[in-house]
C-alpha cells in the first residue's frame, strides 16, 4: 500500500489498471480453478498425449525407437487377435449399455413419477451398493456363478440340475451379467434427472386430449427423457469397453477384452508402443460409436413424434 502511494503517477495508473483486471470476475474465477485445471492437464491431458506419441514409435528390446511409424496401428487393426478383442469389447459394452438402460428406465420412471415423498430414499437405496468396492461386486458374481457356486449348488439343492453347470462362469455372458449389475446405478441417475425435468402439465395435457397412459408415455414422456437415455447409455458404454477386472475374474478365455491385451503390453509382453496404439484405437473407436449412438437415438426420437 505504501509502495503504491510513493510510486510515480504513471506507475500508480498501471497498478490501478492491473488491480482492476485482477479483480474482474473472469480473472478471479480462472485463477481459482487454475490449480485443479493444471492438475488435470498434467495428469490427464499430458499422459494421453504421451500415449499418443508412443503409439507412433517402436519398442526396441529395452529402448524405444522414436522414428515415426504406423506399424503399431497396422497390428492393432489387422491382427486377428486384437481385431477380435476390439469387436468383442465393443459388443459386450453395447450389450451392457442396452441392458442397463432398458432395466433402469422403469426404475427411474417409477422413482420420478411414483416416488412421492420417498424419492431421495429410493435413490439412496439404489446408489448405495455402488459405493462399495467394484472388485468386491465382481468377486461376488464369481461366487454366484462358479462351478461350486451359489447358483449351481442352489439349483442342485432344489433338484433342478443334477450336475454343476460349467456354462455359467468364464464366458462373455458372465461378463455381460456382471457389468450390467455393476453399472446399473450409473444408468438410473441420468434417466431419473431427465425424467424429473419433464413438465408434468404436458403429460396431463396429453391425457386431457384423449391419449391413453401408454400413448402419452410414448409420445410425451419418453421423447422428453431422451437426453437422459443418451447420457445413461454413454456413461455405461464408454468405461465398460475398457474394463479390466470383470473379464479377468469372470470372463475366462472367451471373455477376454481389449483392456487385458493393453495391460499385457505394458506388463509381460512389454511392448509399450503397441499397448499405446491399442489404447488410442480403443479411444477413437469408442468416441465414434458414442457419436453414432447419439445420432441413432436422436433419429429414433424424431421418428417417434
Amino acid at each position: 500500500m505504501t509502495a503504491a502511494a510513493e510510486g510515480s503517477p504513471a506507475r500508480r495508473m498501471t497498478r490501478a489498471r492491473r488491480n482492476a483486471l485482477l479483480q474482474s470476475e473472469p480473472v478471479q474465477g480462472f485463477a481459482l480453478i487454475s490449480p485443479t485445471f493444471l492438475y488435470a492437464l498434467i495428469l490427464l491431458v499430458l499422459p494421453i498425449l504421451v500415449v499418443i506419441a508412443h503409439s507412433f514409435w517402436t519398442q526396441n528390446y529395452l529402448t524405444i525407437d522414436r522414428t515415426f511409424t504406423l506399424e503399431n496401428y497396422r497390428i492393432a487393426l489387422t491382427e486377428p487377435i486384437y481385431r477380435d478383442l476390439l469387436w468383442r469389447s465393443l459388443y459386450i459394452s453395447l450389450m451392457v449399455s442396452f441392458f442397463t438402460v432398458v432395466l433402469a428406465y422403469p426404475i427411474a420412471y417409477f422413482i420420478s413419477f411414483h416416488g412421492g415423498r420417498h424419492k431421495s430414499l429410493w435413490l439412496f437405496l439404489i446408489t448405495i451398493p455402488f459405493w462399495t468396492s467394484y472388485l468386491l461386486r465382481v468377486m461376488s458374481w464369481k461366487v454366484i456363478l462358479g462351478y461350486n457356486g451359489v447358483l449351481n449348488s442352489g439349483l442342485m439343492g432344489l433338484g433342478i440340475i443334477d450336475e454343476p453347470s460349467t456354462a455359467l462362469l468364464y464366458n462373455s455372458t458372465a461378463v455381460i451379467i456382471t457389468l450390467t449389475h455393476a453399472w446399473a446405478a450409473f444408468a438410473i441417475l441420468p434417466i431419473f434427472v431427465s425424467l424429473e425435468k419433464v413438465d408434468r402439465t404436458l403429460v396431463e395435457a396429453a391425457k386431457d386430449l384423449g391419449d391413453g397412459p401408454l400413448r402419452s408415455f410414448l409420445r410425451v414422456t419418453l421423447p422428453l427423457s431422451v437426453p437422459g437415455v443418451i447420457s445413461a447409455a454413454l456413461i455405461v458404454m464408454i468405461p465398460t469397453v475398457g474394463d479390466y477386472v470383470t473379464p479377468k475374474l469372470v470372463g475366462g478365455k472367451d471373455g477376454v477384452m481389449i483392456a487385458n491385451a493393453i495391460q499385457a503390453q505394458f506388463g509381460k509382453a512389454s511392448n509399450w508402443p503397441l499397448g499405446a496404439a491399442l489404447s488410442v484405437t480403443t479411444m477413437v473407436i469408442v468416441t465414434l460409436i458414442a457419436g453414432a449412438m447419439v445420432l441413432v437415438i436422436r433419429a429414433a426420437q424424431r421418428l417417434a413424434r
Binding site: 490427464l44 504421451v50 468377486m139 468405461p239 479390466y244
Partner: protein
Amino acid sequence: MTALRRLLGSGWLSAYAFLYVVFLYLPVIFLPIFSINTAATPKFPLSGYTLKWYEDLPRTPALLDAAWNSLVVGVSASILATVFGILAARSITRYRYPGRRAINGLIMAPLVLPEVIVAISMLLVMLQLGLSLSLFTVVLGHVLVCIPYSMTVLTSGFEGFDRSLEEASADLGESAFGTFRRVTLPMVSPAIISSLLVCFTISLDEFIIAFFLTGTDATLPIYIWGQLRFASKLPGVLALGTLLLVASFLLMTVAEILRRRAAGRTQNEGGLYA
C-alpha cells in the same frame, strides 16, 4: 407391511422396483453370508456358523500392511482431492468466464474415461519422468479420479448459496479471507466433510489405478486381488470384503446425510449426479 406397501405404492411398476432392488443387493449380500460359513467353498447348503475367518484377519501381517497403506493413501488423496475440488467448485458456482464449461468438462473427464487407459497413461508419464512407483504415485492417481466426485458433492453444496450473505459480510468490513472463514466456510463445511468421506471411500475401494501405479506396496484391493488366486484363501477374502463393504456403507451414509444437510442449508436439492 403396510409401511412397505405405502413406500412402494402399487401396481406392477412397484413390483418391478422391488425385484430390481433385490437384484442390486443380492450379489453383495452373499459376501457376508459366506464369510461366516464354516465351509471353505461358497456353496449351499450352509454348513455352520463361525467367526474364525474374521479372527484370522488380524493375524496376517501382509493384510495389516495393506490396511495401513490404504489408510495413508485414502487420507492423503481425499484431502488433496477435496482441496482441488473446493477451488474448482467455488470457481464454477461463483464466477462466469469464457472456457468455464470446457475446463469443467476436462476436470470431470476421468469419470467417464476407461480407467485402464487413464492408469496406463499416467504410468507412462511417471516412468518417463523417472518417478519410482510407490504409494505416492497411487495418491497422485487417486486424486485425479476423486476430483470429479468431490466436485459434484461440493457444487451441490455451493450452488444456490446466498451471495448476499457474503456481500453483507464484506460491506460490514470483513476481509475476503475473513468472509470466507466466518460466513462461507460454516455454510459449506458439511459439503466439505461429505466430499472428504466420498473421496476416502473411492480411494479405499479403487483397484485399477492402484494396481498400475503402485510399486511393491499393496493397498487393500490389491491385497484382495493377490489372494483371489488361491481358492483356499477365499473365506478370508470374503471376511475382509465384508468389513470393507460395511466401512464403505457407513462412510457413504454419513456423507449423504451431510451432503443433504449442506444442500438444505443453501436451499438446494440435487443428488451426487444432479
